[in-house]
């Protein structure tokens, strides 16, 4: 008998699965351009200027103009680049972003349809397995570009992955232990009494800090530090491949916010009728994304060695301690 890798909590007919994956995919894909313009608008306000306000009503069509411009560019490759890997890099990054969306729960089962891509029993592991693929994309594209700045950026992203992935996993483990399940749907349902942000506050903080590192956002944007490495691994990319990196960054930000919302902020739960669930989830994700943008407008960038020491000397022991305390409390109560 073949032991399955993962069990699926609730599955519908195949056509429903296909239909809802398309809906979720398109929904999130459409959110990304909105996110870019929201980020630029917000950063603009933080920085005492307007932000984009020329294309379309209040500048909301700006991402369309950006995408059209980038897609219209010639596909370019430096001679020193490794052709195949150079092309695979951005694709891998996007792939990682899209696959991880599948496990974000936007609601429980309603009328026989689960409001999520898939409810796997290994939810957290799925997230880490596919989320970390993005770093291979960065690593490959930085290395295969044949540029020194890209190379340094790729090395930095590798180091960053190793330093923060562990703490990130440990930070989620506390919530997993409290819920007694790895499935995101079960974890959200277990937060009916109290959101895990209260008992797992340390875990939430560690996860968010590691999430910033995971998504290469400021103050952990070392792989693409524009003042030092001139965009790092992206230096040699242009046109639609460059746009892929940009898209992937926002997708990742969305996913990390979604995971944080599901694990710590009660996922889709909120007052009001059941059909409000997806809206609650998106609202929580947006609130967390606002924090991402806020931090970017405020904080300077860490140095390479400081990033390492923060990851290994502060976050990892703290996350381990958090698990120990949680484990003891779970057993006692």
């Amino acid at each position: 008998m073949i032991t399955p890798v993962a069990e699926v909590g609730y599955a519908e007919a195949t056509w429903i699965l296909i239909a809802k994956s398309i809906v979720i995919f398109l929904g999130v894909f459409l959110i990304v351009p909105v996110l870019t313009v929201v980020e630029r608008k917000l950063i603009g306000r933080f920085q005492h200027r307007y932000g984009p306000n020329r294309v379309g009503p209040v500048g909301m069509m700006q991402p369309l103009a950006d995408i059209l411009k980038l897609v219209g560019k010639q596909v370019f490759r430096p001679d020193a680049a490794v052709p195949l890997l150079y092309a695979i890099g951005p694709a891998l990054v996007i792939f990682s972003g899209i696959t991880t969306i599948a496990i974000l729960p936007f609601g429980d089962v309603k009328d026989g349809v689960g409001f999520y891509g898939i409810d796997v029993s290994i939810g957290v592991l799925y997230f880490f397995a596919f989320g970390s693929l993005a770093f291979y994309g960065l690593l490959l594209s930085g290395w295969s570009s044949g540029s020194k700045y890209s190379f340094l950026g790729a090395m930095r992203s590798a180091a960053q992955l190793i330093s923060y992935e562990v703490s990130m996993g440990l930070a989620l483990l506390g919530a997993v232990m409290m819920a007694g399940s790895l499935s995101l749907v079960s974890i959200v349902e277990a937060q009916g009494e109290i959101w895990y942000v209260v008992p797992q506050f340390v875990g939430f903080l560690i996860f968010m800090i590691a999430g910033f590192a995971e998504t290469n956002r400021a103050p952990f944007d070392l792989p693409e530090a524009d003042a030092e490495l001139v965009q790092g691994y992206q230096t040699e990319y242009g046109g639609s491949r460059f746009a892929s990196f940009l898209l992937a960054e926002y997708l990742e930000m969305f996913v990390v916010s979604g995971i944080a919302a599901a694990f710590f902020l009660g996922g889709w739960m909120g007052p009001g009728p059941g059909w409000l669930d997806p809206i609650w989830m998106v609202t929580k994700i947006m609130a967390l994304i606002f924090v991402f943008i806020w931090i970017r407008a405020t904080l300077p960038r860490l140095r390479y060695d400081q990033l390492m020491s923060l990851g290994w000397k502060v976050l990892l022991p703290l996350a381990t301690l958090n698990i120990l305390v949680t484990a003891v409390l779970v057993v006692v109560t």
Binding site: Q47, F76, L152, A225, A297, T298, R301, Q306
Partner: protein, 430 residues
């Protein structure tokens, strides 16, 4: 979809290309790299990176040849000359009053200082005393210019460190200063406001009110900047203990300005060798202790506060009277005199066609610029054109200390050091 490559000379292979790039190693790099680049043991392999001339953090067109081992900077060599414009040579072909707009364009963030250095030098040669009001007006504009320069430094350096929003906050205040410049002189940059003998025009009505409002607001703004940076753990970690060069070494290298003061040497020409109205106003010289990036930052922030104080005192004590000397051999006569006085007409004609003559001699006139000692050397041969104009630009001299700041640190420290060094490449190359 076809891939279009840019550089046909580079080998179209992957992988080992990074090691095999035949980057030219210039000068003092400790290990000469072979053409293959892989003759060395892997642990001794160096990555030679050209930072610049077009790099976002080099503040212009500075080229840094950096040898890296991993992220660590093993050696560094600044290569300058990308904006060399031959201004000093061009000055020899202009009459004295036409030189002023030339020298302004050297260090393009401290144009009033360049003007003052040159005008002060020529006035020394002419043994010309400028009226008190001109002295005060010059002091006001010099200090405004210092504020403007430091604000720009603050914004760009914070940007290099990743605090992107500071740039816009700093540039907001800088814009107010530029508005003031425009009000007083008609131009926002490169104003040609200082003349040999005084200033071009008196300040207009309303200038004082606007300047006072700015002076009231500015200390609060500086407090806001400090709240954003000084209380930020990341900023402190990035700057503290980074880029320390001993005070003795800085003195040997001839480094001046905030860099030297941050290392604990209270050397400021405004106090040591007062000029204009600086001996009549009260201000302090901020001095650092260890001379790391944080001290450099603190010294400049405190200098901005002192500049505001100087401006306020100058406004309070601004004397009435002429703003330019009435020495008719040097300064154009007022417009209305031309219609009534034959002598004025002759002076006007002589000054406009030939310019004024300066008695033979040479002079070195140093002032305290925002980046350090800004000195102007003028050699006069008795004609209406200078025989030689030379500027000791602090950016150029200070740049020498960059290597010692950076060697042994990380790339991120290099960027931080360069930002705190605050070189203006227009001044370096001239």
């Amino acid at each position: 979809m076809s891939d279009v490559g840019g550089h046909r000379s580079a080998p179209a292979r992957g992988g080992d290309v990074i090691a095999a790039t035949t980057a030219e190693v210039i000068g003092s790099s400790p290990i000469e790299r072979t053409e293959a680049g892989d003759a060395l043991e892997p642990e001794h392999e160096l990555l030679t990176v050209n930072m610049g001339p077009h790099h976002p953090a080099t503040h212009g067109v500075l080229r840094l040849l950096v040898s890296l081992e991993g992220e660590e900077v093993l050696d560094l060599k600044p290569i300058v000359g990308y904006v060399h414009t031959g201004i000093e040579k061009s000055c020899e072909d202009q009459s004295y009053w036409k030189v002023i707009p030339f020298v302004e364009r050297m260090d393009y963030l401290s144009y009033f200082f360049n003007m003052q250095a040159f005008c002060g030098a020529v006035e020394t040669l002419l043994e010309l005393e400028i009226p008190p009001r001109a002295k005060y007006l010059r002091t006001i504009h010099l200090e405004l210019n210092r504020l403007h320069s430091h604000l720009f430094w603050l914004g760009t350096t914070a940007l290099d460190l990743g605090a992107i929003s500071m740039l816009w906050y700093a540039l907001r205040e800088r814009d107010t200063i530029l508005d003031l410049f425009e009000m007083a002189t008609g131009q926002r940059m490169h104003t040609r406001y200082f003349q040999v003998g005084g200033v071009f025009e008196d300040i207009p009505v309303g200038f004082e009110d606007k300047l006072r409002a700015f002076c009231t607001e500015m200390p609060a703004r500086i407090g806001q900047y400090e709240a954003l940076l000084d209380r930020n753990e990341i900023f402190l970690r990035r700057t503290r203990g980074v880029g320390i060069v001993p005070r003795e070494r800085l003195l040997e290298l001839g480094v001046t300005g905030p860099l030297l003061r941050a290392a604990g040497e209270p050397w400021d020409l405004r106090k040591a060798h007062p000029y204009l109205a600086y001996d009549e106003v009260e201000f302090k010289i901020p001095v650092g202790t260890v001379g790391d990036g944080y001290d450099r930052y603190r010294v400049r922030m405190q200098e901005m506060r002192e500049s505001v104080r100087i401006i306020e005192q100058c406004l309070d004590g601004l004397p009435e009277g002429p703003w330019i000397t009435d020495e008719r051999k040097v300064v154009l006569p007022p417009r209305d005199e031309l219609a009534t006085s034959m002598e004025a007409l002759i002076h006007h004609f002589k000054l406009v066609t030939e310019g004024f003559r300066v008695p033979p001699g040479e002079v070195y006139y140093p002032i305290e610029g925002p980046r350090g000692e800004l000195g102007c050397y003028v050699l006069a041969d008795g004609s209406a054109k200078p025989a030689r104009v030379h500027f000791r630009d602090p950016s150029f001299v200070n740049l020498q200390s960059l290597r010692e700041m950076c060697v042994g640190g990380y790339i991120a420290d290099l960027i931080q050091n360069l930002g705190m060094l605050d070189p203006i490449l227009g001044g370096v190359d001239r």
